[in-house]
């Protein structure tokens, strides 16, 4: 009898895909991924509690609460949750455990997932793809595409990890995850340092100053200031570095956000172009 309430490998994989597809298409401000989570769990609820209306009702309510995490990290949580409820299907006592695990993990997991899958991957692959795209080369975007497909495939592994290891994964994983996040941020920092020099284009103009008319030849004489040459003699990519530091500092201020910063940069460029400072 208990055997009939075990999930087969095929069922588990389809639940995994169910989460990947449903997790966010019904995203809304009230429960965020809550509706997607509930929808993912419907076959689980039917199978485990379908013959006990009261438990089924409790399960439906338990899983319709607020939920939000990074979707790939969500695979681990869903896997864990299914394992917990499967083991305690007899009494349904796993529902309360699952509810608290979901709530406890979604925040920290979102932090890790957003850093690794969002920021670092986006920065590294995004900068390579954008640099190449600006040269009319689509190879960079192909590399990024491979990464995205690899992440999708890896999500089945994350789900299995969550299901097989269950709750004990949380303690063993947290140390490794922190190490991984730290390592990923090192990669991110190195790439950002390079990108500032390579991709912030701050081409300074050569200013001409009239020295008046040469009395002997009758031609106007100029004193030329090659601003870019002066800047380069201090340090190559000096202005990109200073400008990046300035923008970094501004973004830390309460009166600034990324949308305003874009506007500031565009206006700044138009003004500099107007005065002929940029070449």
């Amino acid at each position: 009898m208990t055997n009939s309430k075990k999930f087969t490998k095929k069922e588990l994989r389809s639940l995994n895909l169910r989460w990947i597809w449903n997790s966010q298409i019904g995203w809304n401000y009230e429960r965020m991924q809550g509706l997607g989570y509930l929808t993912t769990m419907l076959p689980v609820i039917d199978k485990l509690y379908g013959d006990r209306p009261e438990l089924k009702q409790k399960a439906l309510r338990t899983h319709s609460v607020f939920f939000n995490t990074q979707p790939a990290m969500g695979d681990i949580i869903v896997g864990m949750n299914i394992a917990i409820e499967e083991q305690t299907a007899e009494t349904g006592s796993g529902l309360d455990v699952a509810a608290s695990i979901k709530t406890a993990l979604m925040g920290p997991f979102a932090g890790i997932g957003d850093t690794i899958f969002g920021m670092i991957a986006g920065a590294v692959f995004g900068s390579i793809a954008a640099t190449m795209a600006l040269e009319g080369n689509a190879l960079g975007i192909a590399i990024w595409e491979i990464w995205m497909v690899a992440v999708l495939l890896f999500r089945t592994k994350m789900f299995d990890m969550g299901y097989e290891q269950g709750v004990k994964l949380v303690t063993s994983l947290s140390g490794t995850m922190n190490a991984l996040t730290e390592a990923a941020s090192v990669l991110g920092l190195t790439v950002v340092g390079g990108m500032i020099a390579l991709n912030v284009k701050f081409p300074l103009a050569t200013l001409k100053m009239s020295l008046g008319i040469d009395p002997e030849t009758g031609e106007e004489m100029f004193n030329e200031f090659n601003l870019q040459k002066y800047a380069d003699s201090i340090m190559p990519a000096l202005f990109p570095a200073l400008f990046a530091a300035l923008c970094y500092w501004m973004l830390g201020k309460k009166w600034m956000n990324s949308n305003k910063l874009i506007l500031v940069v565009v206006l700044f460029a138009i003004v500099l172009a107007f005065f002929g400072v940029l070449a």
Binding site: A110, A183, S185, V192, G194, F243, C247, S258
Partner: protein, 262 residues
């Protein structure tokens, strides 16, 4: 102007835009990727390189940015597709096109993202009723219906602007003074700084400045291409990872000893 886009071109680009957000919410295999979407648009309108440059310029403003915690960010994918389709036909400079119309529309479209997230609250409320009625099919349907507001928030503006926008863009390009268009071109070169500044805010810049210096020197002084810098960064990341896990193992052993002593 060059007769505008054909119905088939408009429908293809609109369909991609509709699906872009749905893909990014689920399988995430690239439809919502700004460069890929612009490349696709470029191919559809017959100027692949134009799409790549518009996409690359816009992508630079949002490296590593994401909708973390349900935040709405400028939609450079939809705006980039529009800038590519209309810009390629008008003959405007792709970098200036991206940093003017591309940036402006992306910011405007943020509101549509918020509207979609808000609209889905209605489906949530119906789903809540179905929970009480044990109607599991209804619950799943409400979740799936979320696709409609999501998709329309991208597909609709792209459709409307592709149908009606060509004349506006052509006229804008004629009216705007050369020095402003020139300024937008420079802005295209400067704007990547925004992407980097956002990213740096999330990274331990002040705790580990050595790595940002390393990357900068490799690029500025040695002119190493970005792929090489990324590989050196990967090497540095591996060292960091090994040190961190070694410390972890040592810490665990240490902790075990302490327990034993007590």
């Amino acid at each position: 102007m060059s007769g505008g886009l054909s119905i088939i071109q408009i429908l293809l680009i609109t369909a991609w835009a509709f699906w872009s957000i749905v893909d990014s919410l689920s399988w995430n295999i690239g439809f919502n990727n700004c460069i890929l979407a612009c490349l696709f648009t470029g191919v559809v309108v017959g100027d692949m390189k134009y799409g790549l440059i518009v996409g690359g310029t816009l992508q630079m403003t949002q490296l590593g940015a994401g909708t973390y915690g349900g935040a709405s960010i400028p939609n450079i994918t939809s705006s980039g597709m529009i800038a590519t389709a209309l810009g390629a036909a008008s003959g405007a400079d792709p970098i200036a096109m991206a940093s003017s119309i591309g940036i402006a529309l992306a910011a405007l479209f943020t509101q549509l993202d918020i509207l979609a997230r808000f609209s889905n609250t209605a489906f949530q409320h119906i789903a809540d009723k179905y929970v009480e009625e044990d109607n599991t099919k209804g619950i799943a349907l409400m979740n799936t219906l979320g696709i409609i507001p999501w998709g329309l928030s991208r597909g609709l503006p792209v459709l409307l602007l592709l149908v009606a926008g060509q004349g506006v863009v052509d006229n804008l390009i004629k009216i705007i003074p050369a020095f402003i268009m020139n300024g937008f071109k420079f802005a295209g070169g400067l704007l990547p700084v925004v992407g980097f500044a956002i990213l740096m805010r999330y990274l331990p810049v002040l705790k580990k400045p050595q790595f940002i210096i390393l990357g900068f020197v490799l690029a500025a002084y040695i002119n190493m291409p970005i792929l090489g810098i990324a590989l050196i960064g990967t090497a540095a990341a591996l060292i960091t990872y090994q040190n961190a896990t070694a410390k972890l193992a040592a810490g665990a052993a240490q902790g075990g000893d302490d327990d034993y002593d007590e």
